[in-house]
Amino acid sequence: MRGIRRCTGLIAAGLMAASVAADACAQVATYEIVGDGIPIPLQGAEGRADRGRAIIVDRQKGLCLLCHSGPFPEQRFMGDLAPSLEGTGSRWNAAQLRLRVVAPERLDPDTIMPAYHRAGSGARVAPAHRGRPILSAQDIEDVVAFLTTLR
């Protein structure tokens, strides 16, 4: 099964619990880092730039503008904890951007940029978010598709 991690260790418990947990695990795609990027889109999904922009400006979903500013004229009070997203697409290609969104800790272990596609390994993850990535594979592809348009 390309891209789907097999969830081992889910043998015990009831059928219900196993299927819920399997659903959470199935949300996290596997990927391969090649050089300084992840060349293959997650789960083979096709990203849409318009959806990606909507995710980025949504402060409850993408959370991006809490830290990043960027070319979003209708947005106010963008944070200044991280570089502007302006020109992102001319600095990095899709594979490089995918790595930065999915696994930024690979480039800087101390980064404050969240890893947007993993079953979180933080302490005391809230029950609603346990085992779930911040953004789905489709969301990631949408975000990458939009970022590549920023030149």
């Binding site: 009070f77 944070g79 904890l81 404050i112 979180g120 933080g122 302490a123 005391r124 993850v125 809230a126």
Partner: protein
């Protein structure tokens, strides 16, 4: 205390000059109170005891302080003085080491313990209005005095536990307190400037809450923000964090009741 009866009651009609709050500023070593990260208008609200909504909670605490309660009809004032004069500087050394419990105790825990053991009443619930009123009243008595928390060597283990929590990456977002409040203080998360997280104004009147709240409430809010399950009120971990933060703020002046955005 959820009654909303709007009755005439004793009030403090403050005439003449307003009492002045101390300048909440740097400790001279570069540490900055959250006061300095606020707008001039919000600072003015804190500085003016007539406009600081936290002072209403101080008044509430003063009334509870003197009110006899429980089967023995005792009040806090019976032991600690009618106007709380014995409380000057007390809040500035909390959390303190509780010998009987063998671990750190915060001001809320101390008040609850006193209520049970000396007033012989059911201790007020965490984050309840009466408990916050008493905490704010007591901590207000320490306003202007310097934080001394952590000088007691018995607290060093608790401080280290707190430091470990401060550096723990919490939640789905995997962020630690240190990453924001040590590494990025002064920068903005969205519209909100990130302060250095010195708890010198607690309990604070937070404009976002429209009421007074404790440091535990604030920390629980942050943990929820990084999508972590917060520690329950009264948890040892929250006390350890407060202990670490107060030790980190040692030497800075108390500001209670602080006003924060």
């Amino acid at each position: 205390m959820t009654s909303r009866r709007f009755s005439t009651a004793l009030i403090a009609a403050l005439i003449a000059a307003m009492t002045s709050a101390p300048a909440s500023s740097e400790a001279g070593d570069g540490r900055r109170s959250g006061y300095l990260f606020m707008s001039p208008q919000t600072r003015a609200m804190q500085d003016d005891d007539m406009a600081n909504p936290g002072m209403l909670t101080v008044l509430e605490g003063a009334e509870l302080w003197s009110r006899p309660t429980g089967p023995a009809g005792r009040s806090c004032a019976d032991c600690h003085g009618a106007d709380g004069s014995g409380m000057r500087g007390v809040a500035a050394r909390y959390p303190a080491f509780d010998v009987a419990e063998g671990k750190p105790v915060d001001l809320a825990g101390r008040i609850r313990k006193c209520s049970a053991e000396h007033l012989l009443i059911e201790p007020p619930a965490f984050e309840s209005r009466p408990l916050l009123a008493l905490m704010t009243f007591v901590a207000h008595k320490a306003r202007g005095t310097r934080v001394t928390t952590g000088e007691d060597p018995r607290l060093s283990r608790g401080i280290e536990t707190g430091r470990g929590l401060w550096r723990t990456r919490f939640g789905q977002l995997e962020l630690s307190c240190a990453q924001c409040h040590d590494d990025n203080a002064g920068r903005r998360l969205g519209s909100a400037p990130i302060p250095e997280a010195h708890p010198t104004g607690y309990p604070i009147h937070r404009l976002e809450w429209q009421t007074v709240g404790s440091l535990q409430r604030r920390i629980r809010g942050c943990l929820t923000g990084v999508r972590a399950e917060p520690f329950p009120y009264g948890a040892d971990e929250l006390i350890a964090l407060e202990l670490f933060l107060m030790d980190r703020a040692r030497g800075m002046p108390m500001e209670t009741p602080g006003v924060r955005p």
